[in-house]
């Protein structure tokens, strides 16, 4: 028998093998083995993930991957969630839809995060893709229920419509009536972000009733509790359910109807919603609690005793989102009831209050770290912390992959010792060898960054605020964190030296955000001039950076790698630093007019 060498397999065989490789990372690796594998792989890649919509152009993607069926795009930087990115910065999806409409007629899935989506884009999607199945708009904005109506009417095989956390111009609830009677394919519908008071409930009921494969349904706040029993009876096969507001006039049969309805849902594993909770109706959930793996109570204004009662019925809980009303006592109860807990998020009920309104401290988190050995992901808002607590938590939970701690008052020290929290966070990065995401808070010196640079070798995303003493801090991170992809910094004394010394590092990352730091305009220009594969964007809404000295710090800096060069859709308050200096093709003539409209005081200052 002749010995066959690996690369003499026919392409079809390799393609078949590659079809088992789903992960984008692995696919990228496969494509780099040799030229023929690159070619074969690119023709059979069906799913593309683009973490920054400005890193590459639609034409480039289409050219390399001609047969894509599923695309995921992310737009604005993460700090846009906290209003740090001005409106109009960018992240428009329309150019992508336009290109894909021509090139990918068989496109089935579009997933977008933090992008600006217009009704025009939605109409184009509905018109262009005959087999369109999945639309996920995560934290998007710019569209209205009219666009949704177009999707409902035009996409005959729609399976998923998920609008999570998007800002939708809710013109009317009647868009739901645009789903034709023939639409029975829905598997997932998430309209929890819709604000209107009227949801066309009868249309919703009919839709739910005729979609036997519906697994996930998340209603919006407008849907009142008395309507839920009906919906659940129409869809007992639900796995994931989001209630509307969990309140109604106290009537005897509502509770019993609701309990019966929940009992009929034998597959239900995940619950959310719970706006305006009336605790008397929580026992309706008891029939499903033993099977619950995910519970989102982060809108529920119930207090510790009620939370404890509910949570103690949920021994299978893996994921809990809750307000800090749970308090330390509730977290202790959680730690003893929910041994399978993997993810915990505790949100502040009164983020702007000066004094604590609840008894939630570092002790609660310590209890959970002690009682829940599988804990991997934490988001915790609190008002006090100690190094000792952080060290204990780190030792209890070496498996952390995500640790985000937000001590509400900036620069809060260890309240027992008065020291910075460097040692505490240092323990986290030292013990948690698989840590991928970290958010810092409290009083922190350059030392914490030394620890991070030394130990956090798997860290991919770091968020820093009001921390550090000097450029050395930033340098530690940029030079030490080998896996770093995203770095976002605000209000830290980090300047030019660290960035310029580590310019090459920035090309290995997706993006760097720095606002209210001390990076000078001159350094930005230099970075833009020298690094051709970086887009260096300076954002300043008050006045153009070139009107000041080169040594003046810029307000906001966003640096990201890109193979498509500077973008052409920048608003007047964004400048790209490149070989030709600071540029914004959109702003030369319009700049002063626009600035006049935006900032009257700028003009008066210059008079």
């Amino acid at each position: 028998m002749q010995k066959k060498r690996a690369y003499s397999f026919p392409d079809e065989v390799l393609e078949h093998v590659f079809s088992f490789i789903q992960s984008g990372k692995d696919r990228n690796a496969v494509s780099m083995v040799c030229k023929s594998w690159y070619e074969i792989e690119r023709w059979c890649r069906r799913k593309v993930f683009i973490g920054n919509c400005y890193a590459v152009s639609p034409k480039m993607v289409i050219k390399r991957f001609p047969e894509v069926r599923s695309i995921e795009l992310k737009g604005k930087p993460h700090f846009a969630d906290f209003n740090l990115v001005p409106d109009g910065w960018g992240g428009y999806v329309l150019p992508w839809i336009v290109e894909m409409a021509g090139a990918y007629p068989w496109l089935e899935e579009i997933r977008l995060k933090r992008m600006v989506v217009t009704d025009e884009s939605l109409e184009l999607i509905a018109k262009s893709f005959k087999n369109f199945k999945v639309l996920v708009l995560f934290s998007c904005e710019g569209f209205s229920t009219d666009g949704l109506a177009a999707i409902a009417a035009g996409c005959k095989n729609l399976r998923e419509l998920d609008l999570r956390e998007s800002d939708v111009d809710d013109l009317s609830g009647h868009w739901l009536t645009h789903f034709p009677e023939t639409c029975t394919s829905l598997v997932s519908l998430n309209i929890s972000c819709l604000g209107s008071d009227e949801v066309s409930f009868s249309a919703l009921e009919r839709l739910v009733g005729r979609c036997p494969n519906l697994r996930s349904l998340r209603l919006n706040r407008a849907v009142s509790l008395d309507k839920i029993a009906n919906i659940l009876c129409l869809a007992p096969q639900l796995v994931d359910f989001g209630t509307g507001n969990y309140t109604t006039e106290l009537q005897p049969d509502v509770l019993s109807n609701l309990t019966a309805a929940f009992s009929s849902c034998k597959e239900l594993k995940s619950l959310s919603g719970f706006w305006d909770v009336v605790p008397a109706y929580l026992p309706a959930l008891y029939p499903v609690c033993s099977r619950l793996t995910s519970l989102n109570l982060s809108y529920a204004t119930i207090h510790s005793p009620e939370i404890i009662k509910l949570v103690s019925h949920c021994p299978s809980l893996q994921r809990l989102l809750v307000l800090d009303y749970i308090e330390d006592s509730g977290l202790e109860a959680l730690a003893s009831s929910c041994k399978d807990l993997q993810e915990l998020r505790v949100f502040p009920s009164d983020p702007f209050g000066v004094e604590p309104n609840v008894s939630l401290t570092e002790k609660g988190l310590v209890s959970v770290s002690l009682g829940c050995p599988k804990l991997q992901s934490v988001l915790y808002f609190c008002r006090q912390m100690t190094n000792a607590a952080l060290v204990t938590i780190a030792q209890n939970c070496p498996n952390f992959t995500r640790f985000r701690l937000c001590i509400i008052e900036p620069k809060t020290a260890d309240y027992l010792t008065g020291e910075p929290l460097d040692v505490g966070f240092g323990a986290i990065v030292e013990h948690c060898k698989d840590l991928r995401r970290l958010s810092l808070s409290g009083l922190l010196t350059d030392r914490v960054f030394e620890y991070i640079g030394t130990y956090a070798k798997k860290l991919e995303m770091l968020s820093v605020a009001f921390a550090g003493d000097s450029d050395l801090g930033l340098h530690h991170v940029l030079s030490g964190c080998e896996s770093l992809r995203k770095l976002e910094i605000r209000d830290c004394p980090f300047g030019d030296k660290a960035i310029l010394a580590n310019a090459a590092k920035l090309e290995t990352m997706r993006s760097l955000w720095m606002s209210s730091c001390t990076v000078s305009f001159g350094a930005c220009k230099l970075l833009g001039q020298k690094m051709h594969r970086l887009n260096v964007e300076v954002i300043d809404e008050t006045e153009p950076p070139c009107s000041r000295l080169e040594s003046c710090p810029v307000d906001k800096l966003y640096v990201y790698r890109s193979i498509s060069g500077p973008r052409s859709d920048m608003p007047p308050f964004v400048w790209t630093m490149d070989e030709e200096g600071d540029n914004n093709s959109n702003q030369k003539d319009f700049f002063f007019l626009d600035m006049f409209v935006r900032n009257n005081h700028y003009i008066s200052n210059s008079l």
Partner: protein, 189 residues
């Protein structure tokens, strides 16, 4: 700028001023002529905060200047924050007069959960005591009786009908004094 000086030229500002305080809170005795006083802006804000809290019987600390985007809570979460019920209904503002008082007040009936809260607010506002209410005898033990004009134009004693019915039918309030009050059912022998 022009508006302020014209405003300050008006007489009797305090009675007509729009205040941040809830009805029933004590007036600032120091003559702060109104929201537009440029001289004491910080105290005005603090005073308004105190007035707000005074009605609830506890003092909340002033909220401090907020840093943009901090703490990092997404806006949809902030909008969903509890503590305040969604104000989907417009306020029901009615005029309140008291016999012998020089000018009227206006209150928002939606702010109160029931008669006892309303009476307490009126008592604070006009410095009187209403006496104890009973269905049989009306307000016993006081020279004053809280009355209201209903949709039909009749003057009724406040407290007889359920609260929700009251606030939707009340057009104005009048705190009657003396013999007129007694005629409405008070102190029948």
């Amino acid at each position: 700028m022009e508006n302020t000086s014209a405003y300050q030229n008006d007489l009797n500002l305090k009675a007509t001023e729009l205040r941040l305080g809830l009805p029933g809170t004590t007036d600032e005795e120091t003559a702060v002529p109104g929201v537009r006083n440029n001289k004491r802006p910080l105290q005005e804000v603090a005073a308004a905060a105190d007035e707000k809290c005074g009605a609830n019987g506890k003092s909340a600390p002033p909220s401090k200047a907020q840093i943009v985007g901090w703490p990092p809570v997404q806006s949809y979460r902030k909008n969903n924050l509890p503590a305040k019920k969604p104000e989907t209904e417009a306020g029901i503002y009615v005029k309140v007069s008291m016999d012998g008082a020089p000018y009227l007040r206006k209150i928002d009936l939606r702010v109160y959960k029931g008669y006892s809260e309303l009476l307490q607010a009126l008592e604070n506002m006009f410095k009187f005591t209403a006496g104890e209410y009973s269905e049989r005898e009306g307000y016993k033990g006081s020279d004053y009786a809280p009355t209201y004009e209903d949709k039909d134009g009749d003057w009724m004693l406040a407290g007889d009908v359920p609260w929700q019915m009251f606030i939707t039918s009340c057009k104005r309030l009048r705190i009657m004094k003396g013999s007129e009050a007694r005629g409405l059912g008070y102190g029948t022998v």
